[in-house]
């Protein structure tokens, strides 16, 4: 299997799911279209296009287009660290509040992804948290989460 076969296969299934899901909302007729018609047509089009893509990719495979590694020679673990930090931020910000959570978030990323010196970590995380609080909460009145403290 090559990359295009995999992705077109996935889109084929997604398209089918959309088309089947759309039927629940009634398709109506062409002269009186209902809520499901447009998503049904779009889902069907995705599946059709993915089918074309799969054939295209299969022909390419016969010509020697194989699987291209997606993560080779890359520091993919950093992506997971950043993703984990984002998820943690979303889960904790209501409890810890914007200021604490932001300082921890910035500090963690500065130390965990490409480790910076501690003074840099403290300075950047504190200044960023305070400055963004000042700009968004105090100046632009963007009601940021306050936390339980």
């Amino acid at each position: 299997m090559n990359n295009d076969q995999a992705s077109s296969g996935a889109f084929f299934i997604i398209g089918l799911a959309i088309a089947f899901g759309a039927v629940r909302y009634k398709l109506g007729t062409f002269s009186a279209p209902d809520s499901g018609l447009m998503p049904f047509l779009v889902g069907t089009a995705i599946s059709l296009l993915a089918g074309i893509g799969f054939v295209h990719a299969t022909l390419g495979k016969r010509k020697g287009v194989g699987w291209t590694p997606l993560l080779e020679k890359l520091r993919w673990e950093r992506v997971l660290i950043v993703l984990a930090a984002l998820v943690a931020y979303i889960l904790l910000v209501k409890t810890l509040g914007f200021l604490i959570c932001t300082a921890l978030f910035i500090g963690f990323l500065l130390k965990a992804v490409v480790p910076q010196r501690w003074p840099t970590v403290f300075a950047v995380s504190l200044i960023t948290a305070l400055a963004s609080y000042g700009i968004f909460e105090l100046w632009l009145k963007a009601q940021l989460p306050r936390g339980i403290f």
Partner: protein, 500 residues
């Protein structure tokens, strides 16, 4: 007479202190995101969109537009000094701009890039002023079939011009249309694909999707790499080009301006394709085409003029028809709708202050950009030296704040992160995000005009070809779809994943 009265109204609006300030903030932010690789105008506009909810729509749109054309200016600085395009439309500037810098001519390269941008930007605004009002008047005669055809053409042109196989870009466009269908059906109030999530009842927000696909995914892609970059270290001098430089750049700037403007007007066209076409044209016109890529000033002047001119052109379909031609103008359209302004032919009359104010602000913005980009070049070089490991947490924080402050909803922030992961995977599998964004914005409008047209035609889709305007537009769209299938007419060189 009306025209001059409107121009005066525009300048009165643009010179109001708050609008003037927001114009400055816009072009400054635009230059900044243009200078910084990995953050394009779409991401920046999405980030700042929620912060504009407390000001008038005029000030907000003036600022967002400023980010767009400001990024075109700033992008050239990074291309010339670092050999990395600050934003997609400056890719071509790397070819000769960086070579000029290596030869000790960074100053003239930066200078001609700024002057070419200024000249082209100014001319494109004049074009916008002259063409937009009569076009809007003509568009008043358009019905749902014409609108549907135009939107279909916009998506088709974008997929035709995008890099990679057409089936991939069409899938992205369809996925965007589907996302645009999520939420309450505006015709019979049915909730579709919301899965009981309250935040989805108004549809999938443009901001979380754009920030996820263009902001967060870009960070994911950058952090897994080495994150190092070398900034051109020598002192930058002689920013004012010599007479010889001007002589070599004069015609490339003129050609780039004209080309860029008309390619910008085309739905699906935009700054990126304009700069590529301009570079190709200059090579054709040159007596020494073999020297292109070795530090030719025409290779900087032409494309820089073209990508700036295209920004003015891109506003024409948006402001007159309410149809965005690319991802950036799609975001502007989304912003207008959020502010309660319905873009389209009536906007020229119903929101004259906004229409003419935005256009007039572009004149001011262009002048500001010339000042920002020449005397302050040292400042931009310093910003370029901020290491990415320190910069990326700040970009993520802006995304988080932007995503949250839109509706004070953490669900939307979660949605943004999910789209960040989706964007990362899409780029890994070489799918472009720009058609998805455009289709997401067009989705509800397309569905509405499609259903209205079908009802009008009593269910016969062939009627699209019996109305002259929609017939011509539909025929062009179909031809564009068929063209790549004809042997010898296969796709043009890849133009990359442009935001526009």
């Amino acid at each position: 007479m009306d025209f001059f009265a409107n121009v005066i109204l525009g300048f009165q609006t643009a010179f109001q202190p708050i609008n003037f300030l927001f114009c400055f903030v816009g072009v400054l932010t635009g230059t900044l995101v243009g200078v910084l690789p990995g953050l394009g105008p779409v991401a920046a506009m999405s980030l700042l969109l929620p912060t504009t909810f407390h000001v008038s729509p005029v000030a907000a749109i003036i600022m967002l537009a400023g980010i767009y054309y400001g990024a075109m200016y700033g992008g050239s600085t990074t291309s010339i000094l670092v050999n990395i395009p600050g934003e997609a439309a400056s890719v071509v500037t790397c070819l000769d701009g960086y070579k000029m810098a290596r030869q000790g001519r960074a100053g003239p390269a930066l200078g001609i890039a700024a002057f070419a941008s200024f000249i082209a930007g100014t001319f494109s605004i004049v074009g916008l002023m002259l063409i937009a009002p009569p076009l809007a008047e003509m568009a008043l005669k358009f019905g749902p079939p014409e609108y549907f055809s135009l939107m279909a053409l916009g998506l088709t042109v974008l997929t035709f011009l995008a890099s990679g196989p057409m089936w991939k870009t069409l899938i992205m466009a369809c996925l965007g249309l589907f996302l645009g269908n999520i939420g309450m059906d505006s015709i019979n109030a049915t909730f579709r694909f919301t899965f009981g999530i309250l935040e989805l009842s108004d549809g999938v927000g443009l901001v979380p999707v754009a920030m996820g696909l263009f902001g967060i995914s870009e960070v994911f892609l950058n952090v897994e790499q080495s994150m190092g970059r070398t900034v051109f270290e020598a002192k930058i001098k002689n920013l004012l080009p010599s007479l010889k430089d001007w002589a070599e750049s004069f015609w490339p700037i003129i050609r780039g301006t004209v080309l860029g403007f008309f390619l910008g007007v085309l739905p699906g066209g935009g700054s990126l394709i304009s700069s590529f076409v301009s570079y190709a044209v200059e090579k054709k016109f040159s007596k020494t085409p073999e020297k292109f890529g070795t530090g030719m000033i025409a290779g900087v002047a032409g494309p820089e003029a073209a990508n700036n001119s295209a920004t003015g052109g891109a506003f024409i379909p948006l402001l007159t028809l309410g149809i965005p031609g690319n991802a950036v103008t799609a975001l502007l359209l989304g912003a207008l709708i959020i502010y309660g302004v319905q873009p389209g032919p009536k906007m020229v009359i119903e929101h004259a202050d906004l229409f003419w104010g935005v256009i007039a602000s572009m004149y001011l913005g262009n002048a500001m950009l010339l000042v920002l980009n020449l005397p302050l070049i040292g400042l931009w070089v310093k910003i370029l030296k901020v290491p990415y490991p320190i910069l990326f947490p700040l970009i993520l924080l802006f995304c988080l704040i932007g995503g949250y402050s839109l509706n004070n909803s953490l669900t939307e922030v979660g949605l943004m992160v999910i789209f960040g992961v989706i964007g990362y995977l899409l780029k890994k599998f070489q799918y472009e995000a720009a058609p998805l964004i455009l289709a997401l914005v067009l989705g509800p409008m397309m569905e509405h005009s499609f259903r209205a047209s079908l009802t009008m035609f009593d269910g016969n889709p062939a009627q699209f070809f019996f109305r002259p305007i929609s017939a011509v537009i539909m025929t062009i769209a179909i031809l564009l779809l068929i063209l790549p299938l004809i042997p010898g007419m296969k796709k043009r060189p890849a133009i990359g994943d442009g935001e526009d």
